[in-house]
Symmetry: C2
Subunit: 212 residues, 2 copies
């Protein structure tokens, strides 16, 4: 393996080992010693790539943030209606998180920095605004029931996704997160969408991709 | 003040001061020194009432647990239909938590012990089972839409309530929790209840008590 590839592989091994620990224990309780033992690396190898535990955590947070941008752009490019895009993004995010500990750890770290301590939870506010913008757009197309409040729908979905992830993580290491997210969508979207609205686009499922 | 009343008042002052800290910072980051400073008490006064920080936390957890039993029994005694009782219990719980830091801290402590760390989250599983039993009962009375899965409804509501509490706590110290819980109920129950079902019973609101 050329030296550059080896360096890349080591960096990925550190990120993966750290993600395993962060995902289970959160930032505070994760020890660098446990991460190194899991990755089979020395402190020297670690510090060649990252300045601190905080730096690995930031790399994981950045990675999940980049992925969400990519998921949003993919759904935007598919040209489906806003509520179907919302459904697709939620379901795809849950599928990816159940399958990928690196992503899951990044999401947990981003949320844990904000939830549970005083301060402004900018990530959740950003998500609420983003979801609300899809619901507003759905309203402009006539896809909503009368009286639906886009901000209230956004708060409901955002909170429900957070709670589902936390309970799913504590009970099944997020294995049932895809099913829980689809339950949330199944018991909220029919109250939001006009009776004529139909789910469209390729909707990922835990088993693969299904044309809805 | 008789000695017994004074002892009771001191114990309550400790619980309240500890609740203020636990509610903001969680168990780990709360220091006994900050609790004592807030209550204006010495370590001696504290240890007369509680053996440790852990003991105060347990007292707060027990207190919220007793209150939920009481809220459940009150709604049971009102003789309203199961979905209305579920709505009433959720709304009343949110109102009480927004108004009472002692209760809020107990709820946070109980949840934080389970959420975020590996293990069995018995409180959330207990809540999911309890909510499911109300939905099953609603089904037996013909109050559900066809195809509604009581366990899925319970998972959705339980997760949505947890997420709503965490985001509300991080953004408004739970001031908007009553409104968020009502939004959740408003966007979930119509997908669950048969079109003929109507909310009944005295439904508490953030402003007082309203006959629905």
């Amino acid at each position: 393996m050329p030296q550059q590839d080896r360096a890349y592989a080591t960096r990925e091994a550190i990120l993966h080992a750290a993600a395993e620990e962060f995902d289970r224990l959160g930032y505070e309780r994760t020890s660098l010693t446990a991460v190194l033992a899991r990755a089979g690396l020395t402190k020297g190898a670690f510090y060649f790539h990252f300045a601190s535990k905080e730096a690995v955590a930031s790399a994981l947070i950045d990675r999940q943030s980049e992925l969400w941008t990519q998921v949003r752009e993919t759904w935007r490019a598919r040209g489906v209606d806003p509520l179907s895009a919302l459904h697709g993004m939620f379901a795809e995010s849950a599928d990816r998180m159940a399958a990928d500990v690196v992503l899951r750890a990044g999401v947990r770290l981003a949320a844990d920095r904000e939830i549970g301590y005083p301060g402004v939870p900018s990530t959740h506010i950003m998500w609420e605004k983003l979801i609300a913008s899809y619901v507003v757009e759905a309203g402009e197309r006539g896809d909503l029931r009368p009286g639906v409040d886009p901000d209230a729908v956004a708060r409901t979905l955002c909170g429900a996704a957070l709670g589902a992830r936390l309970i799913s993580s504590a009970t099944t290491a997020c294995a049932d997160f895809p099913a829980r997210i689809r339950e949330v969508l199944g018991y909220v979207l029919p109250c939001v969408a006009a009776p004529e609205w139909k789910l469209s686009g390729s909707q990922n499922t835990a088993d693969g991709v299904t044309e809805a």
